[in-house]
């Protein structure tokens, strides 16, 4: 344990989770999970409900205790420390503001709890100013809007200068427009203060917008931990493909190789992709809608003749649903175009679709 603490202190990791296990009754919630977060980094835990992301957050905060493994915060092992001795701030999903205290009392609570007597007023007002709630210090928390309550919760958590800030779906109770404003605001604030943050969400867009890195979680494990760009461009598994963005999925069998490519038989016909599997493998090929193009295919591209079934204009982009010639009607390819060709295709019109072999991501058939 000592060696571990020293190691993480040497690498400057703000948080190191090492092989953590957690079980509730017969259910394995977290399975040998490890995670490193650098100082000042913003990392999201992204996954569906029940994937263990909130449990991991509670273990880090000390609100629950791991059955095995170690948690090191800023070089200090905290695995067995109670929550109140960890100095880790938490913004709860429902904010958990103290209803019997006003805004000032809520923000001052942590300072009082830690026995801080000097400059309490100045520190509280400073924290409130950071979230632009300075004028609300004397207000009862019950009279605040959702966005204001969220700001107070953030001010309360950062007023004690935590070594780590944990956020448990803090935007889920806000409407869409306010959520987007608050996301930008929070991201700027945390960068300005240099606070390391772990953010739990089930909303992939939110995770991509906010994070330096995203950990995609599935059934108690981290499927992939990477930057938003890398997650989107190089998903490590079919699960990550499904969770981040949209993709067409084509089941098929590897028939053989063609130079650097392998040839896959699918319901749409044969297509070529980067060589990864031996002939005969059952695979799933995935293509992002924006990787599919309309018009004359360049040499070496996967090309299909198709008919436009639906055309949906979405402002900045247009989505086409196309039925490939010779394929079943419900086996559609979704195509996303930033700019419509001139003349625009109309429903039922025959079009040529093409995508480059390197834009096809192929995974073993589950």
């Amino acid at each position: 344990m000592m060696r571990l603490a020293e190691a993480s202190a040497a690498t400057g990791a703000a948080l190191a989770v090492r092989g953590v296990w957690k079980r509730f009754g017969a259910t394995q919630v977290l399975e040998n999970l490890s995670l490193d977060v650098a100082g000042g980094e913003f990392v999201s835990l992204l996954g569906p409900s029940g994937c263990g992301k909130t449990t991991l957050l509670r273990l880090i905060a000390g609100l629950a205790h791991a059955d095995g493994g170690a948690i090191v915060v800023g070089g200090r092992e905290v695995t067995r420390l109670p929550a109140h001795r960890r100095n880790i701030g938490v913004v709860f999903q429902n904010y958990a503001l103290f209803p019997h205290l006003n805004v000032f009392g809520n923000v001052a609570f942590g300072l009082h709890a830690q026995g801080i007597r000097d400059d309490v007023k100045a520190r509280v007002m400073q924290a409130l100013a950071l979230v632009r709630m300075g004028d609300f210090a004397e207000r009862p928390t019950g009279a605040l809007s959702g966005g204001q309550q969220q700001r107070v919760a953030v001010a309360r958590a950062i007023a004690v200068r935590p070594s780590l800030l944990l956020l448990d779906e803090p935007f889920s109770a806000l409407d869409r427009k306010l959520r987007e404003t608050m996301q930008v605001e929070l991201k700027q604030l945390l960068r300005q203060l240099g606070i390391t943050a772990i953010f739990v969400t089930h909303d992939q867009e939110e995770a991509l917008v906010m994070s330096d890195r995203v950990a995609v979680m599935n059934a108690g494990r981290i499927e992939q931990l990477d930057t938003p760009q890398a997650l989107y461009a190089h998903p490590a598994s079919l699960y990550v493909v499904d969770f981040i963005g949209q993709s067409a999925r084509l089941s098929g069998t590897v028939r053989g190789t063609d130079g650097d490519w392998m040839v896959v038989d699918t319901a749409l016909g044969t297509l070529r992709a980067a060589r990864r599997f031996v002939p005969g493998s059952r695979v799933v090929a995935t293509i992002r809608p924006e990787a599919i193009h309309l018009g004359a295919a360049p040499a070496g591209a996967n090309a299909f003749t198709a008919a436009v079934a639906e055309m949906m204009f979405l402002g900045a982009r247009t989505v086409l649903h196309c039925v490939v010639e010779g394929a079943a009607d419900d086996d559609r390819l979704m195509v996303e175009l930033a700019r419509l060709p001139d003349p625009a295709p109309h429903a039922g019109a025959p079009v040529t679709l093409w995508f480059r072999p390197e834009d096809v991501a192929v995974f073993p058939h589950p």
């Binding site: 701030g89 709860f92 209803p99 009392g105 001052a108 207000r139 009862p140 928390t141 309360r156």
Partner: protein, 293 residues
């Protein structure tokens, strides 16, 4: 159109707007008028009537007499001790029930509720049997060698306090439980993540937020135990006269209606004070969070 809208928007009395919801209280209010308000008025009237018309002699007899002042103090101190005992035992029990899971919550609830279904007289006789000279407690004390002769326990103030707490404990647990049950456990967690020890979190978050339940329980138990009649008369009787016992004696034995009704009016005044004090406290507690800390 605008003029019509302006006219319509004028606030009309509730009954004009056809809002008759308040009328739903009429049957209950009529019933209470007949069985409560009228007898109460008669009682107050008879407490202020002497041989020659209006007189406060009844009150003067009670407040000017050491014996009756002692009786009032007996009732009040019995109420205070019972309330304190119920609060000390009931407040933690309310947490245990609220935080218990599944089967255990059912068991704990049964332990609180079952005594309520047993009549006070039956329970009090049970106490009397247990505490008497040849009762279970003396049997145990003698058997364990903790006493060399039977202790007198029945008809002592201590046995009265024990019996009163037993009878009124559920009335403390239930209001506390109903408030504690609604406390968001995340508030305690939030306090912990802010650096608050378990004690700090309890004293600054949980306890203040559970106060409305405790205040309600104190109000209920104090009013009920001040006015208790059956338990004191069975467990201690004439050795510890309370206001209720004096009232009963005045009406049933002495036929002194002036004394009985004046004592009843004083007891009523105590109850009204308790109700006013608790509702004032409850409103103050509800307004918290608005003032600066």
């Amino acid at each position: 159109m605008t003029a019509a809208a302006a006219t319509l928007s004028l606030p009309a009395p509730a009954w004009r707007r056809g809002d008759m919801t308040a009328m739903l209280a009429l049957p209950a209010m009529g019933y209470m008028l007949v069985v409560f308000a009228v007898p109460l008025a008669l009682l107050l009237w008879s407490s202020m009537r002497g041989e020659a018309g209006f007189s406060l002699a009844g009150y003067a007899r009670i407040l000017g007499d050491d014996y009756y002042r002692q009786v009032i103090w007996n009732s009040l101190s019995l109420g205070l001790i019972t309330t304190a005992g119920c609060a000390i035992l009931g407040y933690p029990a309310a947490f245990a029930i609220a935080r218990a899971r599944g089967y255990w919550q059912v068991v704990l609830f049964a332990l609180v509720f079952l005594p309520l279904t047993v009549s006070i007289i039956v329970k009090t006789f049970g106490w009397a049997i247990m505490l008497r000279r040849d009762g279970l407690v003396n049997f145990a004390l003698l058997g364990l060698g903790l006493a060399d002769r039977p202790q007198r326990m029945l008809f002592t103030p201590e046995s009265l306090y024990a019996g009163m707490i037993n009878v009124f404990l559920p009335f403390m647990i239930l209001p506390c439980y109903s408030v504690v049950r609604m406390l968001d456990p995340r508030l305690t967690e939030a306090a912990a993540t802010l650096g608050a020890s378990a004690w700090h979190a309890f004293s600054r978050v949980t306890f203040p937020l559970s106060l409305p339940g405790l205040v309600a329980g104190i109000g209920i138990v104090f009013s009920l135990s001040c006015a208790a009649y059956v338990t004191p008369s069975l467990l201690i009787g004439e050795r510890y006269m309370t206001m209720s016992q004096v009232m009963a004696k005045a009406y049933l034995n002495l036929r002194d209606w002036q004394l009985g009704s004046a004592m009843a009016a004083i007891l009523l005044a105590v109850a009204v004070l308790v109700v006013l004090a608790t509702s004032w406290l409850q409103r103050r507690l509800a307004r918290r969070g608005g003032s600066s800390s």
